[in-house]
């Protein structure tokens, strides 16, 4: 199947106008020594055949009937209206809004996105989007280095290990050194980052402290104390948050975060095997000129109407080239639109309902497994919508449950040897009482 409209007669007409005998003549400039010798791709398919092939592959995935897996990606209800909005081809098939007169739909929706993210995080300015939460966090760390003119950063090991890996890669280029401050994983520990430990790691060469709330283990970090520790050393606090949690938790702007990043996937974006998602970044207005990524601003047109444009572009690669704040160009605009539509669809009350359902059901899980003598909480202290539970033979039992179409969370020993036999279980509003009961039953049947 091909999407070219040209008939052979039309091609001949164009070739004649150009004054060449065949289309091959248009490729004479490829030096003979380096012309392609092969192109061994499969033959074309009709739509019917494409559907069969893609259906075959999608059918080879097995979506679990019950899953308590989160660890940074959460299965939430995606309201039908969100899919409807981003499915409109006026949004989906538009380019970057470089011509504002014919891009007000995209531009206004990004301005609304920036406004919503500012409101949710309590920050003054939000960017138009990043590739994902991990790269937004890495860019935030580099931004803090530019703002403080320092070249070392401190990272809590309560930060999602995927994010820590991406941070390491991004920092390796410019040679930014990473110092890790361990979360308290001791027996009877809180699973969180102690401010004293952070203070010890900080010093006058550190650009920022990166900490996550709720942290990777679902535990609630003492963010105000961490902010104080960072600021005491002249460093910035990069707060990595989960957007749904901000319905209930103190916004990072209130506890002194300087840069906020998040994975926006929970806001109406399907898990889709890891992407596309949307990285969120917000900051204070006085650091906007070091902020990476596109920004939309409001202005007036020649008819004195309100309108929106890409602005402060002197930070960006197409203007500043090697002096740009980042090389980012294409971002995740359509996913940002999904997050915008989601936040509007659920509103303040709906977002609260989603957060309350998740935090309630995860406690239901922990209480039910504890009451049945099947598991114990690995950490002390408060958690949010994910909980680390220890149980004998956790990995083997997780495998056994898999055979029953159930994913019993994420095995934490994958990243931390100290967390053997510990599973991280997540709940959302999609988690039902029946699923919790079946988890208890399944674990009981799998000693």
């Amino acid at each position: 199947m091909t999407y070219s409209p040209h008939t052979d007669a039309e091609r001949a007409r164009m070739l004649e106008a150009i004054g060449v005998g065949s289309v091959d003549d248009l490729f004479d400039d490829v030096p003979p020594a380096v012309r392609a010798t092969g192109f061994g791709l499969p033959p074309p398919l009709t739509e019917q055949e494409v559907r069969a092939e893609l259906g075959r592959l999608a059918g080879r995935n097995r979506v679990p009937e019950i899953s308590f897996l989160g660890a940074g990606v959460y299965r939430h209800l995606v309201p039908a209206v969100v899919g409807e909005v981003i499915g409109r081809s006026e949004f989906a098939t538009a380019y970057t809004p470089y011509q504002p007169e014919v891009s007000q739909g995209t531009l206004q929706s990004i301005y609304e996105f920036q406004s919503l993210i500012c409101e949710l995080t309590g920050m003054e300015v939000a960017s138009a989007s990043h590739y994902d939460g991990a790269t937004a966090t890495a860019e935030a760390a580099l931004m803090a280095c530019r703002l403080t003119r320092r070249h070392r950063i401190v990272v809590s090991t309560g930060l999602n290990p995927e994010y820590r890996r991406v941070l390491r890669t991004y920092c390796s280029g410019p040679g930014v050194e990473i110092v890790e401050v361990p979360a308290d994983l001791a027996e009877g520990g809180s699973g969180t980052t102690h401010a004293d430990a952070a203070r010890q790691a900080l010093g006058d060469s550190i650009a920022c402290l990166v900490a996550q709330q709720p942290n990777f283990y679902g535990q609630l970090e003492p963010m105000s104390e961490l902010a104080e520790a960072a600021h005491g050393a002249g460093a910035q606090l990069v707060a990595v948050v989960e957007p749904v949690s901000l319905a209930l938790l103190e916004p990072p702007g209130s506890y002194g975060a300087d840069i906020v990043t998040a994975e926006g996937q929970p806001l109406g974006i399907p898990a889709s095997f890891g992407g596309p998602y949307v990285g969120l970044m917000a900051a204070r207005m006085d650091s906007v000129r070091q902020m990476p990524g596109r920004l939309v601003g409001a202005t007036r047109d020649v008819r004195n109407q309100r309108g929106y444009v890409l602005t402060l572009q002197a930070r960006e690669q197409h203007i500043r080239r090697e002096k740009a704040a980042s090389n980012i160009c294409t971002n995740q605009a359509l996913c940002a639109l999904a997050a915008t539509a989601y936040l509007i669809a659920v509103g303040p009350e709906g977002l609260r309902e989603v957060a309350v359902a998740g935090t309630t059901q995860v406690r239901h899980i922990a209480a039910a497994l504890e009451a049945a003598g099947l598991a114990e909480r690995r950490f002390t202290g408060p958690y949010f919508a994910e909980v680390a539970l220890r149980m004998p033979r956790a990995t083997a039992r997780r495998e056994a449950l898999l055979a029953r179409g159930m994913v019993a969370g994420y095995p934490l020993e994958r990243d931390e040897a100290a967390l053997a036999d510990t599973l991280l279980l997540a709940a959302t509003e999609l988690t039902t009482d029946d699923q919790v009961e079946r988890l208890v039953d399944a674990l009981q049947a799998t000693p």
Partner: protein, 557 residues
């Protein structure tokens, strides 16, 4: 004047205000013909207590069980609920449908935006990406649950290897610039592995390059050296040889270039770079011109990124998401990001053969590489394995076209660009009058000199004709540049109309330049005050005084 100034009028449904943005519809132009959509900010639609989507409350049993667990301590709680808009679902639908009417899009009209490859995005690809088996697949699901996702990624990498002639491909980078970053980090790792990490500190970039190339070099700590183009629009081989040295880490070169020209000495360019011990990186943004004609890996390039959202037709989404996979030669493959999708059990040849016939291979098993399996890897550049939904669309596109289809994609794209080249060369100056590839670069110099009509004016006049302007003022080395990329999916009638409109604009430039400078007149908004926007940044909605949020509601647990 701030946005908030228009609120009183906006709050009166059906009313209008001096801004013209206060109600849903108004007459379209200053002359009063037509009807145009105008749409307030969603915050201005908000009414306390209005709702769209609702969620079930946890059961009494769940709440009772939860009560035995630690609560979220008060000091960590939000004191006031976020002031998200409160609207009905119909409010929401109308808001975004009206906004959508203010957009131009490839599904609405011709989009000859140079270097962006705005081709048609087939609908069956969207259908595929939304299949529940893909959409509901969690990236951390155990491999036995994700065999379809993993097989698709493995097969897509195989197809991209064949398209490019590279030994290996990583799908992880999320965009072209992200692919460049990956490539330059790999270059660093390669030189370090040979003990030349400290010595090689510069990256060479032609003066016609995209801004992302020098920005990427800086991001990995390299200094950029700019290489001038020669009078034929190619890289100046002499200048390149002079610039190459023991401190050169890599050359980043876009081929075909942003002038739409194939580097006809590319073999000598690659040889010169390798002779200096440096790496040759190809920016694959313009791959749409050369499918089946030139394979960068086969020609000796060490690295290249693909733009799936350009060549392989995944929709641009108003600025993303895209995907920027990176291809690597044999010697660069060990440095690719981790994890790669692997065929863990099964014969690769058999798995490919079966998949091309729409069959699964019995006993075939896929897995992700273990995190530390390849110590030479630069690590991860993104969480998980990339923009998977984009991979699905690109895979569907490549399979639809097949070898013959992809060859004709490039043939027709190049044919269309050359057709516009000859048809417009009477009206606009053609700085490089030679066979072009996917795009052709004109200059508006003549119109500027003779009539004071700039390339910006020409672009804005096109908007009034329902045509998206070409890329303008880029590449930087062409004065008043107009960079036109028609792509292969536009019919001859569309190309003819574009020629007609461009001729008409050239004529009007000499007859009535003032009218052109006043364009656009028929768009939802006129030219915008961009300087003012940058001088007084207004980057978010300001709530009116007293519109403080309600205290956060009951927040158990």
């Amino acid at each position: 004047m701030s946005v908030a100034d228009t609120r009183p009028a906006a709050a009166a449904p059906g009313g209008s205000d001096t801004s013209g943005r206060g109600s849903a519809f108004r007459s379209g132009t200053p002359e009063g013909d037509g009807v145009t959509v105008v749409e307030p900010l969603i915050f201005e639609h908000s009414r306390p207590g209005r709702r769209a989507v609702r969620f079930p409350s946890p059961s009494a049993a769940a709440r009772q069980a939860a009560a035995s667990q630690p609560r979220v301590p008060d000091p960590l709680r939000r004191r006031a609920a976020p002031r998200l808009p409160e609207v009905s679902e119909l409010d929401l639908v109308r808001h975004f449908n009206r906004l959508s009417h203010l957009n131009f899009a490839i599904d609405l009209g011709f989009y000859p935006l140079g270097s962006c490859t705005m081709k048609y995005n087939p609908k069956v690809n969207e259908w595929a990406a939304h299949l529940p088996g893909f959409a509901d697949s969690h990236p951390l699901d155990p491999a036995p649950l994700s065999q379809g996702s993993l097989e698709l990624q493995w097969l897509l990498a195989e197809l991209l290897k064949e398209v490019s002639g590279f030994a290996a491909v990583s799908l992880q980078p999320a965009a072209g610039a992200h692919g460049e970053l990956t490539g330059m980090l790999m270059a660093r790792a390669y030189h370090a592995s040979r003990g030349e990490g400290e010595q090689r500190t510069t990256v060479l970039v032609p003066d016609s390059a995209h801004g992302t190339n020098p920005a990427t070099a800086s991001m990995v700590g390299y200094a950029t050296v700019t290489i001038r183009s020669n009078e034929r629009g190619g890289i100046d081989l002499q200048a390149l040889r002079e610039a190459l040295g023991p401190e050169t880490a890599a050359l980043m070169i876009t081929n075909p270039s942003t002038l739409g020209i194939f580097e006809d000495q590319i073999d000598q360019v690659i040889a010169a770079v390798h002779e200096a011990g440096a790496l040759a990186y190809m920016d694959g943004a313009n791959l749409n011109a050369i499918l089946g004609r030139f394979r960068a890996g086969e020609a000796g390039f060490d690295l290249m990124h693909f733009n799936l959202h350009k060549t392989f037709s995944t929709p641009h989404g108003g600025g993303g998401p895209g995907a920027g996979p990176v291809g690597a030669s044999d010697r660069m493959a060990p440095f690719l990001p981790t994890p790669l999708p692997l065929l863990e059990a099964g014969d690769p040849e058999e798995v490919r053969r079966n998949a091309w016939r729409g069959r699964s291979t019995p006993g075939g098993r896929f897995a992700l590489e273990q995190p530390d399996a390849r110590p030479t890897s630069i690590g991860k550049v993104r969480a998980f394995t990339g923009n998977f939904g984009t991979h699905v669309r690109a895979y569907a596109y490549i399979r639809s076209n097949g070898a013959d289809g992809l060859r004709s994609v490039s043939n027709d794209a190049v044919l269309a660009a050359n057709y516009l080249r000859v048809r417009l060369s009477d009206a606009y100056e053609l700085p490089y009058d030679r066979i072009c590839k996917h795009e052709v670069i004109f200059s508006g110099r003549r119109q500027k000199r003779a009539n004071g009509v700039t390339t910006l004016d020409i672009a804005k006049a096109l908007l009034d004709e329902g045509i998206h302007p070409p890329t303008i003022y880029f590449p930087l080395i062409v004065d008043e540049a107009l960079m036109i990329e028609p792509t292969e999916t536009e019919s001859l009638e569309t190309l003819e109309r574009f020629v007609e409109v461009m001729h008409d604009i050239a004529r009007r430039a000499s007859q009535d330049p003032a009218a052109l400078r006043a364009s656009p007149r028929h768009t939802p908004v006129g030219r915008l005050d961009e300087a003012g926007a940058a001088r007084r940044p207004d980057l978010r909605y300001r709530f009116p005084d007293g519109a403080d949020s309600a205290p956060a509601g009951p927040t158990e647990p």
